[in-house]
Symmetry: C2
Subunit: 654 residues, 2 copies
C-alpha cells in the first residue's frame, strides 16, 4: 500500500538546514510576547496558529515583520478544516475560503498551509471523491504558488491515519499537495510509524512533534489538553522521528503542543524547555538511527556529548546558618554519621556514613548563603560523581542550562556545576587515579582513612524533591537531558489534604534515583513544603541499608524519632501478603512499612519525623531486586505525617 513513487536511496539524505520550529499555540502570551520568547529560546521557525492572528491587533504583514525582526521564518499557517468529502456546492465555497487564506499567507510570507482531514459528521466517506477534491485544493494552491500539507487527525471522520492520508496525497500527485505528519495523531492511536520511512521525503510537507502521557480518554480531549514536550510524556518519539529522517524529509521539525498547563505558564521558560526538548529528541533520534544504520553522519541532528554512563551521589550540600547546622548535625549524629572534615577555606563541614556524604555550608556571602537567605535550611547543591565532569558540563550547557562557578581557594578543586530549574547547583565531579580526591583537596579530613563502614547505612538510595506544580515537567526534562535518566510513569498519591503527583527518574545502573513530587492541591504536605522553602525543596533523602532492623534499632536507641505507623496498617498487610506472624510482628514493632513486587522483590522502609517542617530521612532496604519506592505505602506515610504536624501545631498553641 505504501509508496508508488520511488523511495529515497538507502543512505538517506541530510536534513539540512534543520529548522527547529514551534506553533504559537504551544505557549502563553500575546503574539508579540510569543514571538520574542520563541526567538530567544533558539528556534528559527514558527507556525502561526490562526487564532493568534485573529486576536492580533495588526495586519498579517505586521506579523511577518515582527517575526523577521526576531529572525524567525513563518514556516506554516494553520489550521484549515473540513475541506474534502463535501458536496459540489460546498466544495466551491471551500475553494473560495481557502483562497482567502492563501491571501493571508502571502501577507504573512509563508508558503505552507496545514489542512486537516475532515471531521464533519456529514463528511462523505469516498476516497475517489476525496482525491478529486484534494486535487482541486492542489490546483488552487498551484495557482497561488503555495503548498498545502494534508494531515490525518486521529479523530478524522474518514481519514484518521497517515497511511490513509498518504494514499490520497500520493494519488493526487501534485507538488502543491503534500503530507503533514504529527506524532500525536499517529502514536495516540497506537499506530506504528514504520511506513513513514518509505514515503518520499519531498512529498512530506511538514512534520509536527508532540509527546503526551499515556491516558485512557477520548483522543480529541487528550490531544487538546494533555500534549507535552518530547521527553515529558510516554510516546516513543525517537523511533517516530527516525522514520521521518529515513524518509529524506528536509523540512522543519515543529512542536505543536496543546497543554493546559503551558497556556498558563511563563512564556520564556516554556519556550526554552520546548527548544531543549527538541534537542533531546534529536539526540535520541540520532542514537536510534545509529542502532540500525551507520549513515547518520549526514543528518544534522543535535548530538551532545554522551550522558554520564555511571553517575552516583558524591555529596548533598545544605545551606545552613549556625542554628540550622546544629539541628542537622544533631540528627546526623543520631544517624551515626561522623564529622569527617572541615573545608580548607570556607565555613563548610563534611559528614559521612558509608558512601553517603553530607556537606553543611554556612559560608557567609557565598552561593549557599544567598540560597539560605531566600529558602532557609535547604538543599542548595548536589554533587554527582561522573566519569568525565567536563563532558557532563558541556552536555548540560548544550541543552541550555546555565554553568556556574563559585570562589575557589588555593589548591582547591575547580568543580564544574550547572543550575537546576530551581537555581540550585548540580556539581559534576570526577576523581582520577593517583590524584587527591575532591574531599582530600578541599577538606582537612579528620578521618583520613576515608569511608569505612561504621554503621548500618550503605549510601544514598534516592533523593525526593517537592516541586511547585508548574515546574514538574521542567525537572523531568532537566534530569533526562543532563543526566540521561529514564522516567517511570507518573502516579497520583493521596495526602489527607489533596493529591500529589509523583514520578521517579533513575539512571540505567540505578546509581542515581530522584523522585519528583508536585502537589495538585494547596493544603498537602508537599504544597506546604514548597511554601516553607519558597520554591522547590528537598522532601526527603532515603539512605540505603543492608539491614533495616539493625538500622532502626540502633537509630531509635540513639534518639532518632521514627514516624509511627497505625496498627490497622499491619492488619491489612496481613490480609494482603502471606507472611509469618514473627515477621509481621517485627515490622509492627519497628514501624516499618513493607511492599512486595510481582517477582517477590521486597521493600522495607521507615521514616523519621519531619525536621523544621521541611524534610525527613527515609531508611530503605531493597531485597531481591525490588526497583520501586513503596508507592502503596505513600498514603499511609502522608496520613501519619499529617497527624504529626497536627500534634506539633497543638503543642505549639498549648
Amino acid at each position: 500500500m505504501i509508496p508508488t513513487h520511488p523511495a529515497p536511496a538507502a543512505a538517506f539524505p541530510a536534513l539540512a538546514p534543520l529548522c527547529r520550529s514551534i506553533a504559537t499555540v504551544s505557549i502563553s502570551g500575546t503574539l508579540a510576547e510569543k514571538l520574542a520568547a520563541i526567538s530567544a529560546a533558539g528556534f528559527t521557525g514558527v507556525e502561526i496558529f490562526e487564532n493568534d492572528l485573529l486576536y492580533f491587533e495588526g495586519s498579517p504583514a505586521d506579523v511577518r515583520r515582527m517575526a523577521a525582526d526576531h529572525g524567525l521564518a513563518i514556516v506554516l499557517y494553520q489550521p484549515f478544516r473540513d475541506f474534502e468529502g463535501v458536496s459540489a456546492a460546498r466544495l466551491a465555497r471551500n475553494v473560495e475560503r481557502v483562497k482567502r487564506k492563501f491571501d493571508v499567507m502571502h501577507e504573512l510570507g509563508t508558503d505552507r498551509l496545514l489542512v486537516c482531514s475532515s471531521v464533519a459528521p456529514d463528511a462523505i466517506d469516498d476516497d475517489a471523491l476525496a482525491i478529486d477534491q484534494l486535487g482541486e485544493l492542489a490546483k488552487a494552491a498551484a495557482e497561488a504558488g503555495v503548498v498545502t500539507c494534508y494531515e490525518a487527525l486521529a479523530w478524522g471522520r474518514n481519514v484518521s491515519t497517515y497511511r490513509h492520508a498518504w494514499k490520497l496525497v500520493d494519488a493526487v500527485n501534485s507538488p502543491n499537495l503534500t503530507l503533514a505528519l504529527d506524532s500525536f495523531h499517529t502514536l495516540s492511536l497506537d499506530d506504528t510509524p514504520d511506513a513513514i520511512a518509505s514515503i518520499p521525503g519531498h512529498r512530506i510537507g511538514f512534520v509536527q512533534i508532540a509527546d503526551a502521557p499515556k491516558m485512557q480518554m477520548d483522543v480529541l480531549e487528550w490531544s487538546r489538553h494533555y500534549r507535552c514536550f518530547p521527553g515529558q510524556g510516554d510516546f516513543a518519539l525517537a523511533d517516530f522521528t527516525a522514520q521521518v529522517v529515513k524518509s529524506g524529509y528536509q523540512g522543519p521539525l515543529s512542536l505543536e503542543i496543546f497543554n493546559d498547563g503551558f497556556r498558563g505558564a511563563p512564556t520564556a521558560a516554556t519556550a526554552a524547555d520546548g527548544h531543549r526538548s527538541l534537542l533531546l529528541l534529536e539526540a535520541l533520534t540520532h542514537e536510534e538511527l545509529a542502532k540500525d544504520n551507520n549513515a547518520t553522519a549526514g543528518a544534522p541532528l543535535y548530538t551532545p556529548p554522551a550522558a554520564p554512563a555511571h553517575a552516583q551521589w558524591q555529596f548533598l550540600e545544605f545551606a545552613v546558618d549556625a542554628a540550622a547546622r546544629e539541628r542537622v548535625a544533631s540528627l546526623l549524629d543520631k544517624l551515626h554519621f561522623r564529622r569527617a572534615g572541615q573545608h580548607r577555606s570556607k565555613d563548610v563541614t563534611l559528614y559521612r556514613h558509608g558512601s553517603a556524604a553530607i556537606v553543611l555550608n554556612a559560608e557567609p556571602d557565598s552561593f549557599a548563603d544567598a540560597f539560605f537567605q531566600r529558602h532557609g535550611l535547604s538543599l542548595c547543591a548536589c554533587a554527582l560523581r561522573v566519569d568525565d565532569a567536563r563532558l557532563a558540563l558541556e552536555r548540560a550547557a548544550g541543552f541550555g542550562y546555565q554553568p556556574f562557578s563559585g570562589r575557589v581557594g588555593p589548591n582547591e578543586r575547580v568543580v564544574s556545576a550547572v543550575q537546576a530549574p530551581d537555581g540550585s547547583l548540580n556539581y559534576f565531579v570526577n576523581e582520577e587515579p593517583g590524584k587527591p580526591t575532591l574531599f582530600e583537596a578541599d577538606f582537612v579530613l579528620t578521618d583520613v582513612d576515608g569511608p569505612t563502614e561504621v554503621g548500618p547505612i550503605a549510601g544514598i538510595d534516592h533523593v525526593s524533591l517537592s516541586l511547585p506544580a508548574g515546574s514538574f515537567d521542567s525537572w523531568v526534562l532537566f534530569l533526562k537531558s543532563v543526566f540521561g535518566l529514564q522516567a517511570s510513569a507518573a502516579v497520583l498519591v493521596p495526602d489527607p489534604y489533596g493529591l500529589v503527583r509523583s514520578r521517579a527518574l533513575f539512571s540505567a545502573d540505578r546509581g542515581l534515583r530522584v523522585v519528583l513530587n508536585a502537589s495538585v492541591d494547596q493544603h498537602t504536605a508537599a504544597a506546604q513544603t514548597v511554601r516553607a522553602y519558597h520554591g522547590t525543596g528537598l522532601n526527603h533523602v532515603a539512605f540505603s541499608t543492608g539491614d533495616i532492623f539493625r538500622a532502626v534499632t540502633e537509630f531509635e536507641a540513639a534518639g532518632v524519632p521514627l514516624l509511627r505507623v497505625p496498627a490497622n496498617y499491619y492488619d491489612d498487610l496481613e490480609a494482603r501478603f502471606a507472611m509469618s506472624a514473627d515477621f509481621l510482628d517485627a515490622l509492627r514493632q519497628h514501624n516499618l512499612l513493607y511492599d512486595r513486587d510481582e517477582k517477590g522483590g521486597e521493600f522495607l522502609h521507615a521514616y523519621t519525623e519531619t525536621l523544621d517542617q521541611r524534610f525527613f530521612i527515609e531508611l530503605v532496604e531493597r531485597r531481591g531486586g525490588y526497583d520501586g519506592y513503596g508507592a502503596p505505602n505513600a498514603a499511609v506515610r502522608l496520613a501519619a505525617q499529617a497527624r504529626q504536624r497536627a500534634r506539633a501545631a497543638r503543642e505549639q498553641t498549648e
Copy 2:
C-alpha cells in the same frame, strides 16, 4: 428479566427514617476532622472508607466511639473487592479475608459491607459460578450477622450493570446478600434506571449517589477523579432517585464522591455543600415523583418552599468609598444612567436606566463598608425581585445559607437577605400592589415618575462573576438551590495567559442569568480579577438593548471607552458567516462582536474598557431568540483586554 419477587404496591411505602450519609473518601482531612465536619453539616450517617481506617491511629472501636460522639451512625464499611468468579482455592481465601472484615465491622458497629463486582482480569465469566460463590458470601455474612451489599462497578470484568448484579443477588435469595446501587455506575454507562423501581426495596441494601460532568474518557478514571455532588454535574439524578424511592428502599442515601478538587478543599465547607446537595436532590426527586404519581406525600424527602417562579434583577449594589463612587458614577453618567434617588438614612445613591438599577453604598460602618475594606470597589449585594420574598428566604435558609439583617431606618423596608458563598448578599424583594415600592420606601426619589425610557438600555441581561477555582461548584449549588436556576454545560475559554472555566446559570424565563468564571491558571484576567478583589468579584454586567448600534453610537459620543476589536476578527467573521458587506462594515466600525446560532438567532455585543482593573460593562442585543453569551468571541475579548492591560501597564511605567 427483572424481579421474580413481587413488586411493591403502586403507592410505594415511605422512606422512613431517611438517613443522609456520606462516604469519608468524599472530603479532605484526617478521619477525626472528617467525622466532625460530616456531623456539623447535618448528616446522620457515614460510610467508612477502608483507607481512612488504615491511616487512623486507633482501633475500629475508637472510630465507633468517635462517630457516636458526633451522633453519626456508621452505615457501611467499604469496599471489598474481587470476591466472586474465582477458583475454589481462591474462594476459600476470599471467605477468610471477608471474615476478617466482618470482625472489623463488628468493632466498628456497622452491619453492612460493600462488595464490588470483580475487576480481576482472570475473573471467570460464569453466572452460575458467581451465584454459588455469592451464596458462600451470604452464608458467611449470615453467620456473622451482617449484610453484604453487592455492587456492579461500571468497569466490572463480567458484571457491570445493576440489572446483572440484581439477577445474581436475586438468585442467591438471602437476606444477607443485597443489591447496592450507585448512580455513577448506572448513569456513566448511559444505562437507564427504570428497572430499579421494580426491584423489591428490601432487597436493596445500600444506595450511593454521585453526580459527574459528562466527559469522554475511560469510565474508571472518570469515576475516580471527576465525580461531584448532585446538582454540580450533568446526570439526571432526580429520575434515578425517584426509581429508588419507588422500589420501596428505606435505607440511607449516601454520597460517595471521588473528586480531586474536594480532596484538597476545606473539609467543613465541602461537607456542608454535600449535605445541601442531597437536600436539593430530594426536592427535585419529589418534583419528579409528583409528575407521575400523587402518592409522594408519605416519602420523607426534603421539600423546601418552591423556588421563585419569576425572579429578576431589582438592583446591583456596589460597595464604594467617595473616590470609587465618583469613578463609577462618571461611567454610569456616560452610559446615560440618571441619578434617581438618595437613601433616606444612609449614604447610598440610586442610579437608573430602563429597568436597570445600580446602588452605590458608601455608608460608614455598614455591611457595605466592611465589604469595601476587605474587597475594595466591589459588588456587595444583588437584589432580586421575586413573587414572595419570605418564602424565598425560607427556601435559602432551609438549604443552610445564612440569613442576614442590616440596620433599618424609620419607615424603611426590612429586606430579607441571604449570604452567597463569597459572603455578599442576595436580597429578596417583593412589591405589593398599592404599597410603596422598595425604592419609594427607602429613597428620596429625584425622578418621581419612576423608570421611564431615557436611553437605549432596556435592563440587565446578565451578571458575570470571577471566582476562585475552588468555589466554582459551590456557586453552582447556591444558584440552583436558592433560585432554582438551570445550568448550561461548562466550557473552557482561552485567555492569552491560561484557560478559564465558564458556566452560565439561568431561570426558566431567563429573567435571571448569571455567568460564573474560574481561572484554571494563575495569570489570566479572571485570576487577576479574583486577586484584585481578594476573593470572588464582579467580572462584568451586561446591559440589554434593543438597538446596539444606537447604544454604542450614543455612548461613544458620551466618552465611554469601548474595547477595540482587531480587524482580523472581521475578516474571519466574513469567512464564517454569510452577511452583507454593509452589515460587516457596521460591526467593524463600532467594534461589535457577532455570533449566530443554528436557528439563525443573532447576538451583537460590545465591551467597555476595564474600570479599576476589575470590571467592565457589556452591551448586548439578542435577536431571534439567541440564548447564549457569544462564547466563540470570548477569546477575542480576552486577548483585547490583555492588550489593554499591557498598554495601561506601559503607560503607568512611562
